[in-house]
Amino acid sequence: MTSLKKTPLNAVHRSLGAKMVDFGGWDMPVQYPTGIIAEHHTVRQKVGLFDVSHMGEIRVKGKQAMAFLDWLTPNAVTKLKAGQIHYTGLLLETGAFVDDLLLHKVSDDDFLLVVNASNIEKDIDWIKTLARNWDVQIIDESDATGQVALQGPRSLDVLQPIIDIDLSQIKYYWFAFGNFMGLPVMVARTGYTGEDGFEVYCAIDKTEWVWNQIMESGKNQELIPTGLGCRNTLRLEAKMALYGHEINNEITALEADMSWIVKLQKGDFLGRESLQKQSDEGVSRILVGFKMLEKRDIARDHMPVVEDGKEIGFVTSGAPSATLGFNLGLALVPTRLKEIGARISIEIRGKSCPAEVIPTPFYKRAK
């Protein structure tokens, strides 16, 4: 038996009655006794707290940090201001993904990359190899950093009373450093749910204390702990990619419908040549959102998209949508099928089931 990695909140989850699962080698709560659907609705309507301490934090420092990252990743790092964040990828020369990440700019020579837990070692190796001829230091801070994500429309009301910075001044995809009841923390207005919310980074040995303080502050806001099960359905409704599903080492950023992170005009970057070619010639397959037309059909990850008995694509993620009340998913399909209203067929347990391409994100919160 391989032993699973544990976050500093492992015992807390168990004491709360969480159902624990192996998530990329980590022992993580998929749901609490509340259940996935109720947790999902609570995040959309009120507020939930997620343990995301398993996520990786990679510091990139040095005189050439900004230039290096601007070459390493496809989004325009030089356009970021101190305190700003953007979503981007670590790409192969093919334009496909090593990982996706949030890139935080502390200053011109100090950046924090937040990466997927299951990819930490791979990312570190990748970045270090490529950094050899640059004046930068690559530091893995994952084991020293705890992280919790407070998500939902009441997030600000829960967090504001216990932190000394004015959270209303932090815009979406910006961050700040603050004093959390005496503890220095980093607070980012980000998340993986499509709701407003804050991700709080702290010293790993303080994570349980931070969790408890936030839960206590959230009592009068009906805050509940929420697990990875609803995190997945929430992110899917918001069309946020999950590594290993929408993106992997064979799916390019343009195929994943992420032209918004691919700044072909910014100058040279890793993967640019391939992506420029793909952009000029047009991609042959692309990620689309779909809705199952029969109420009882639920598409699941990896199910084939079929046409005349042949597999022409596949479902990257599929699930019932608790918010929207129908079954939806994302699929990689031939580009000719990307138009809204296009009909596709998904093979579910040997049966061809009708679906329709619909606009994404499936869910967008009211501003």
């Binding site: 998929v30 659907i37 009882r296 699941r300 699930a319």
Partner: protein, 128 residues
């Protein structure tokens, strides 16, 4: 969690004999908990006959889908139509409102069915 008056399969269905040659069939508490929130239950045609171990239908949860199987030979007398509007009954009350089908038992009861104690031991061995 595993009522003593029921019989169980290794695939986590239960059979509740009603004493008149009929029985209710559903998912055990362990099964509903493992599935998580159920959102759809595919039910068979009334009158359909199955052998022990035959696939009867599927149960879809938010996370996953699972087949369920006939615990003993029999014919479907009734299906739980309430589940169409309330699939959550499978989670909330697996041995009551969350029943799946009512069957007429054909012949002898499947000898491989487990009693509550044996089933509990089976569950313990699977979850470790």
């Amino acid at each position: 969690m595993y009522p003593a008056d029921l019989k169980y399969t290794r695939n986590h269905e239960y059979l509740k004999p009603l004493g008149d040659g009929t029985a209710m069939v559903g998912l055990s508490n362990y099964a509903q908990s493992a599935l998580g929130d159920v959102v759809f239950v595919e039910l068979p045609e009334i009158g359909a006959s199955f052998d022990p171990g035959d696939e009867v239908g599927t149960v879809e949860s938010v996370k996953t889908v699972s087949e369920y199987y006939m615990p003993t030979a029999g014919e479907v007398l009734e299906v739980n139509g309430e589940l169409e509007a309330h699939p959550e009954y499978v989670n909330e009350d697996p041995y009551g409102k969350g029943w799946l089908i009512k069957i007429k038992i054909s012949g002898e009861l499947n000898p491989e069915l487990l009693d509550a104690a044996a089933y509990e031991a089976h569950v313990a061995s699977e979850s470790h």
